[in-house]
């Protein structure tokens, strides 16, 4: 098993005719993901790499039986694309697009409340169950099937952690990038609960960064409920307050959201913390050996 996605996941690409959408749809298909359809308004009836294109998500779902959608449409239209996927009751919506206005995402979250669809992202790398299904922009070849779950707010730092795990022979059950925006779908907590209940996930790596308090919330839950060993890392230990570090969410404001607070909360919860980004894999190994 795994969480969120596996070899029977049937995936749509929203924004399949753009350069980014095409590049990653092709890469995911080559990885073995079932890319069953694409959506671009006005391009219905055409195809890309043998994948049929539809005018609306609703039609695409009806024709293909898709149960996941990945969104690469440009920022001004990304929120609408999420709404359209939710309206079509797609169970898993993954928004890769970076730079979606916060105001749009506040409305999207309100729209999703009480619906069956769940959102990953925006501004995230996506999710991968190695050897089965890759949805998003991560390099597939660094992953290896296994039993370590990975959840992270970052993109390339996740690749770094995965690469370390793979080199140590620690394969991954599923890797989930929740994204670095202030308003997003899946939180650490949501993903951790899934990992906790997944029989094939034996341990979890959690990678956070400065800003917000999601890591602290997750840590409190881990301390009380998590049955599996967790290794962690927080990026931005040297970041100065008041400066936004690339991600819209990565900022220390009003003395809150510091790496120090997060690390303390995570240690308190029994999470084994890597002091250096170079030792995330080794820290997981140590946590498993205990």
């Amino acid at each position: 098993m795994s969480i969120l996605v596996n070899k029977s996941t049937r995936v749509l690409t929203q924004g399949i005719t753009g350069a980014t959408g095409q590049f990653h749809t092709k890469a995911c298909k080559e990885y073995g993901t079932q890319m069953v359809g694409g959506v671009t308004p006005g391009k219905g009836g055409t195809a890309y790499e043998g994948i049929p294109i539809f005018d609306t998500v609703e039609r695409a779902v009806k024709a293909t039986g898709a149960n996941a959608s990945v969104i690469y449409v440009p920022p001004p239209f990304a929120a609408d694309a999420i709404l359209e996927a939710a309206d079509a009751n797609i169970p898993l919506i993954i928004c890769i697009t970076e730079g979606v206005p916060v105001r749009d995402m506040v409305k999207v979250k309100r729209y999703l409340a009480g619906r069956s669809s769940r959102l990953l992202g925006p501004n995230c790398p996506g999710t991968i169950t190695p050897g089965q299904c890759k949805i998003g922009i991560m390099p597939g070849h660094i992953h290896k099937p296994g039993t370590v779950g990975v959840v992270s707010r970052s993109g390339t730092l996740t690749y770094e952690a995965v690469d370390q795990l793979t080199r140590l022979g620690l394969g991954q059950s599923t890797c989930v990038g929740i994204g670095g925006d202030p308003v997003h779908g899946f939180e650490f907590l949501d993903v951790l609960k899934l990992f906790n209940d997944d029989p094939e996930t034996e341990a979890v790596v959690m990678i956070g960064e400065i800003g917000g308090s999601a890591e602290e919330h997750a840590a409190a839950w881990i301390g009380a409920n998590m049955k599996k060993p967790v290794a962690g890392f927080i990026a931005g230990q040297t970041a100065p307050p008041g400066k936004r570090m690339g991600h819209a969410g990565a900022i220390i404001s009003g003395g809150k959201g510091t790496a120090k607070e997060k690390i303390a909360a995570m240690k308190q919860a029994g999470i084994r913390m890597a002091s250096s980004p170079a030792t995330i894999g080794r820290t997981m190994q140590e946590a498993l050996a205990k």
């Binding site: 590049f23 916060v102 506040v106 409305k107 993109g155 999601a214 400066k243 570090m245």
Partner: protein, 387 residues
Amino acid sequence: MNIHEFQAKEILKRFGVPVPRGIVASTPEEAKAAAVELGGGVCVVKAQIHAGGRGKGGGVKIVKSAEEAAQRAGDMLGKNLITHQTGAEGRRVRRVLVEQGVKIERELYLAMALDRAQSRVTVICSSEGGVEIEEVAEKHPEKILREAIDPVIGLAAFQCRRIALALAIPAALTGKFIGVMQGLHRAFEECDASLAEINPLIITQDGQVMALDAKMNFDSSAFFRQKDILALRDLDEEDPREVEASKYDLSYISLDGNIACMVNGAGLAMATMDIIKLFGGEPANFLDVGGGANKEKVAQAFKILLADTRVRGVLINIFGGIMRCDVLAQGVVDAARELHITVPLVVRMQGTNVEQGRKILADSGLTIISVETMAEAAERIVNAIKN
């Protein structure tokens, strides 16, 4: 993005939030004319910089005549104002806002910001206005009220009444107070603000409710639909290297150290700063070249890094996913040749096409230290600048 107080007040005024009459001046003569225009009585001269704590730093002065307004403006203009938010060097004052004096009865605090835990815009207010809200939050958390706003409903009238009651706003002024709250909310929404703060919001002795100070920040992701807001950007208030970087869609932040770094991805870039520090070095910057950086972007990033004269070494850390290591390596080699890099350069690449990339570096004939891991990269650059 931040804007000046006078700009924020212009926006608030447009949305029906009363502000004192004020005129912007960039010379003492203009300040004098402004004070005359405002009636020649008591005025306040306020330095316009993008930093808080201006009052304590000497950037807000009450004056009794137009002559005094000119004198005080002269004291501020062209000088650097130092506050607890500016750093030791302070910020150059290029403009002052001359405002008509008002008689204050009460000072309140009113702000709107995103509550990330709830994913909603939230009203934050307090009966303790005119002081640092962080201090109130720490010492008297019970004096801070919050109301989360439903994005579909908007700020409801009952929520405004609840706040007005909690702040003991006199019944006769409740209507005006609610008007201010709703105006602030409309301004926040329609301008894609990320913070809108009125501190203090005052009740005057003659029964007016008005914004005596105003601060607004904006969501840069919404600039595609906020051209008027983007036009308020003041490049003089920003670090010139950060401005230059933003032209090429590079996310750069200047720091105090001497090891420049170039990384793809914000999380990895922060982690790279962290590991430099762990090995005893000090990062000179945060620089995220983004996921799909090309040769040109790498070259531009290099130029920006090396323009910082404190830089004594460069560390490049790229985890190639979409970005191919061979493309990156060629970009690095070309830029290093073109710019005649004289400081030590450590390159750590991993991911797609890494072998071809390392070969390009090795065959270049340049003295590039090519390493495999992050730890090795940090150690080598820290040692290299020691010698």
